[in-house]
């Protein structure tokens, strides 16, 4: 890892403070900052019932290690000046931020590609599991085949 790269990963029950994360990177003198933020969707299912809550389970220890490995890899591959991955766990209401990836680099293409890499790989390489609650029903979300394909394009 080159000098001056700031890597931060967090698996937290608290809300994700996007503003603070951007401000932190700007304070470090970032040229360009790319972010991706994912939110709990309130998709209606076949019966018309929307998601009332999403619960995120994870593998403590292994999760943080996986995120750190991804962020470090991205920082090296795209010469980032900073990379942050923040993922929430626990119960969340629709509209809530689940995940934030932020990357800073001197060149915009590097920041944007690294951001896409991190969110793609996080979907297949980090041990999180989603459980949707719709009224009284709860079901574990199935992995999507498209996620494997999206992750594989970075090999």
């Amino acid at each position: 890892m080159a000098d001056g790269q700031t890597i931060r990963v967090s698996v937290q029950r608290e809300a994700i403070d996007l503003t603070a994360e951007i401000a932190r990177m700007e304070g470090e003198g970032a040229g360009g900052i790319a972010t991706f933020c994912g939110h709990v969707r309130a998709d209606a299912d076949a019966t018309g019932g929307g998601v009332t809550s999403l619960e995120l389970e994870h593998y403590p220890g292994a999760t943080e290690a996986a995120l750190l490995r991804l962020a470090t890899t991205a920082a090296a591959r795209w010469s980032l000046t900073a990379a942050s991955v923040i993922h929430r766990v626990g119960p969340m209401a629709p509209g809530t931020r689940i995940v934030l990836v932020a990357t800073a680099a001197a060149h915009r293409a590097a920041a944007l590609e690294a951001c896409a890499y991190l969110i793609d790989r996080l979907k297949t390489d980090a041990p999180f599991w989603k459980r949707e609650v719709r009224g009284g029903d709860a079901r574990w979300v199935e992995a999507r085949g498209g996620d494997e394909a999206a992750a594989a394009r970075w090999e």
Binding site: Y59, K130, R131, A143
Partner: protein
């Protein structure tokens, strides 16, 4: 052993200590043996294609060895992000 998501729910516990039979070489063999220990384990492990594993917190295939492992995790494909 540690379990997550519906694997944990089917087994009814997120953690257990097991005495692995001495001839159990791989994660797959460990799963085969665990499936015989209770109805819950049998249900959790019914479809091997839907199982993923980690040995000492590193992701591995079901054919990975477990010699010297302190912690083996079994769980469904991940769905974060």
């Amino acid at each position: 052993m540690v379990y997550f998501s519906w694997v944990r729910e089917a087994i009814g516990s997120g953690e257990e200590l097991v005495d692995v039979p001495p001839d159990t070489a791989t994660v797959g063999a460990l799963v085969d043996w665990l499936a015989t220990t209770s109805d819950g384990h049998a249900r959790a492990f019914a479809d091997r294609g839907r199982l993923r594993a980690a040995v000492d917190q590193a992701f591995v295939g079901l054919d990975a060895g477990i010699e010297g492992a302190r912690e083996v995790a079994i769980f469904p494909p991940v769905t974060g992000g």
